[in-house]
Structures are given as C-alpha cells and as structure tokens.
C-alpha cells in the first residue's frame, strides 16, 4: 500500500469506514505522522461518523413466537415404551394367572375324588375351625423332606379355597378304604352302622342325600369348637377316635359323605375320568392324624393327612418327589336323645 498526497483521501475514508486491515491502518497512521498538516482533515472526516441513537423498539414482544419445548423423548419412543409396558404387563398377568389355574386344576384332579358335602353343609359343621386346623396341620407337616414343594402350595390352596376344603373333606372315603388304615375303616363301619340306626330312629331328620350315611343335623348352637387337639403326625398310628360314642351310647353323626358330590360343585374343566386313584403300595405310610374334641358339643373333629404315591411303583422307589397329599376332614358329633 502506497499512500501519497494524491490518494490519501481515499485511505482516510476507508479508515473511517473501518475497511482497512491492521497493517494498512498502521501505514496510514505512519503517513499522518509524517504529514501533520493532513491530520486535521482526518479529524474532520472522523466527525462525519454518526453514532447510533438510543432508539428502542417497544413492541418487541409482539414479534416473539412461541417455542415448542421438546419432550424428554420423542413421541414415537414414548409410544413404543407404552406398548412394551402393556405387553410386559399382559405377559406378567398370564404368568401369574395361568400357573395358579393349573395348580387349582391339578389339585382338583389329584385330590378331589368325591367331594362330600355341599357348601351349606360345610358351613354348618365347620364354623371356620376345621379350615384353620387343616391349614396349621398341613403347614406343620409339609416341612418334611418327603413332600414336594408344590404340595405345600396345594395345601395352602386347600385351606384358602372353600371348594377345595370340601373336596378335601371328601377324601375320608379313600382313607377309610385304604388297607393301611384298616382300623380306621373298621371304626368308620361301626359309625356307619350307628348312623343307619339313628336314621331309622329319626325319620324326620333332614335327609340331604339318598346315599348319605347320616342325616343327623348338626347342632350349630352346640358346635362351639373350643377344643383340644392331638397331633399324631409322622407316625403309622391309625386314627384314634375317642370312645365317646360307646360311652354315651349315643348315635354319632358323620357330617360328610363322599358320595354326596354335587355335579355343580365340580369345576367344568375337571372330569371324573381324570381322577387318578392310586392303589395302595408298600411305601411307608407317613400319614398324620389330628383330632379335635369339642367338650361342649361333644363333637370330635378329625383331620387325616396321608402321603400317597403319585404314579407307578418305580416312582415311589425313585424318590419322595412323586408323592401327593391326601387330606380328609371329618366330624363326629353326639347328642343326647
């Protein structure tokens, strides 16, 4: 850049307009120092520069636009996440419901041979006491190594489910028919005879079923189950019934009847053909008996728990995991004539 007296005005204007580079600006200042008479002319040109006035546009807010804030995730991600949650929830529900149904059905098939009584009858004879005792007994006994874990679950279901309690009470028939408990069978036969005699002597008693052994009504008022229980668990002892019937010479009443099953009670998915009755085997009997004596009503409530092999004899030999629990509940009540 060559600044002379002939072209200095152009460079002065370029300097005022801030169009010179740093080197050019320095060269210009050097030229002005060499020619001080031109410095005043440069100052006058600098005075032509206007400074912006302080003018404010006071309607700025009307120009602003609303900014849409973005969400944490895009919309399609939210939709995908919601779909996945719904699917997982559905799968979880299926996993919870389906196994519980299977347990219930399997339990029914394994345990329900002949439900003894209808719902009203259960409520009459067992005002909550039997179910509690069954629950406690089964829980206490299932800790043994020979019992499969799902049996314990089934036992809980037995206690919780009214229907299954009824089914369990019907198992007395199998218990009675089991040769391993011949003594029980004999006692039951004696009781049956007493019941028949009592039925003949009391034709007006409620006859709820044609095949019912006993038609003696349970005296609900006297059925206050305060009592006394004895646990004979993990032994081969047969059922030890108190000899109250003989002592008082009163007819005993068996409030359950295996053959009094009502078809409407059975769930639709359970077919009688699916009932698997196992023949008695030579496996050690691990049955448990609990008797509860109601001193007020002179009633005896019994609970029988028996481990039965599930399938063939090989299964019995192979291990304890193939056993099932058979639970029976019965009640004897005596009243003075």
């Amino acid at each position: 850049m060559n600044i002379t007296r002939n072209n200095y005005e152009e460079y002065f204007l370029l300097s005022i307009d801030r169009e010179l580079s740093a080197d050019e600006q320095e060269a210009l200042e050097s030229f002005v120092r060499r020619h001080p008479d031109l410095e005043k002319e440069l100052d006058r040109l600098k005075q032509t520069v206007n400074f912006p006035p302080e003018i404010i546009f006071d309607n700025k807010n009307s120009l602003l636009r609303e900014v849409k804030k973005r969400g944490f995730l895009p919309v399609y991600w939210i939709r995908i996440a919601a779909s996945l949650i719904i699917l997982l929830a559905g799968a979880l529900i299926l996993l919870i419901i389906i196994p519980s149904k299977n347990i219930s059905h399997g339990q029914t098939a394994d345990r329900i041979i002949k439900p003894a009584r209808d719902k009203n009858q259960i409520k009459k004879s067992s005002p909550g006491m039997i179910a509690d005792e069954v629950k406690n007994a089964v829980r206490g006994e299932d800790s043994g190594p020979a019992v499969k874990s799902d049996h314990a679950v089934n036992s809980d279901h037995t206690v919780k489910s009214d229907y299954v309690v009824k089914a369990a009470s019907g198992m007395i028939a199998d218990q009675v028919r089991n040769p391993a408990t011949d003594q029980v069978k004999n006692q039951a036969s004696d009781l049956k005879k007493n019941q028949v005699d009592y039925a003949k002597a009391n034709p007006h008693s409620s006859n709820q079923d044609a095949t019912q052994i006993s038609n003696g009504e349970t005296n609900e008022k006297n059925q206050q189950s305060i009592a006394l229980g004895s646990v004979l668990g993990n032994t081969n002892k047969p059922l030890q019934l108190p000899d109250l019937a003989k002592e008082t010479a009163l007819p005993s009443t068996i409030n359950h009847q295996p053959s009094t099953i009502s078809s409407t009670v059975l769930p639709s998915t359970v077919q009688p053909s699916t009932v698997n009755r196992q023949p008695p085997t030579n496996a050690p009997d691990e049955s448990t008996s609990i008797l509860v004596f109601d001193n007020k009503s002179k009633a005896v409530t019994g609970f029988l728990r028996k481990l039965l092999p599930r399938s063939s004899g090989d299964d019995v030999v192979s291990g304890s995991h193939q056993k099932k629990i058979s639970v029976s509940i019965f009640q004897f009540s005596m009243s003075k004539q």
């Binding site: 152009e10 204007l13 005022i16 307009d17 801030r18 169009e19 006058r44 040109l45 005075q47 032509t48 520069v49 206007n50 400074f51 912006p52 006035p53 302080e54 003018i55 404010i56 546009f57 309607n59 700025k60 009307s62 120009l63 602003l64 636009r65 609303e66 900014v67 849409k68």
Partner: protein, 161 residues
Amino acid sequence: MTAEDYNDCVRQYADGLYRFMLKSTGQVEDARDLVQSAFEKLWEHRKEVNASKSKSYLFTIAYHKMIDLGRKNGRIEFRAFLPDQISADRGPTPRLRQVLEDALDRLNEKQRTLVMLKDYEGYSYEEIGSITGMNAGQVKITLHRARILLKQYLVSVENVI
C-alpha cells in the same frame, strides 16, 4: 433457523432495524409497520434463512419495503423530524450531533441509507451492497461522496458559528 433463532433475532436486531427505519422514513408508524412486516417475512421463510444471515435478510427486506412504501405514497422525502427519544444519544456533544443530523438530512436517500447502514449497523461494503442491491464499488464511491458532503457541511457550520 429455528423458532429460538428467530426469537434471538427479534431480541438482537429489532431495535437496530426500527432505528434504521425510523431514521430513514422519519415516521414512527411507518417504521413500526416496516419492522413488523420484515420480521413476519423472516418467520415465514425461517427454514430457508441461515441464522447467521438473518440480520442482513431483515435489513434487506425492510429496506425494499421502505422503498416500495415511499413509491406507493409518492414521497421519498425524509424529514428532519425525529422523536424526542433520539435526542438522548451518545457519542458527540449534543450540538455536534444536531449538526450531524442536519447534515445527514441533506443527503439523498441512497447516501443516507448507506451512511446509516455503515455507521449504525457496521455493515461492510459488500453487505451494504447486498442489502441495497448495489455492488461493493458503488457502495464505496457513494459512501465517500456522502462523507465529503458531510465534512463540507460540518466545516461550513463551524465557520458560521
């Protein structure tokens, strides 16, 4: 540019654009309308406008709208009248500023526009050329002539005083 960029443009350039329009037209309402329409157009074309070019885009739109408005109204004459708020300026003394304002009003429209774009907004010759539709050489020559005229006016006033 995004909506946020647009709002940033409003905050940064609305005052300067309004000042430029007010100094160019001398009419407060016209200046407001021009600013409003310029920003509306920027909003409409925000997807095609780069954020870095938004200021030049705004001034270009406003300048051409101002020319159209002047032609439509049949007046390109800009008055020396300015609102009171302009009196509170910074820079030179009030007396010198007043003389400068008077000198600026004596320039023609193109010279005044180029001087304001250069002094107020700091645009380069190329940028002023893109706004006004002139090339950089024409901007340079026009600006230099305007500076000479302003200097002559300041010298004459100084001599009178």
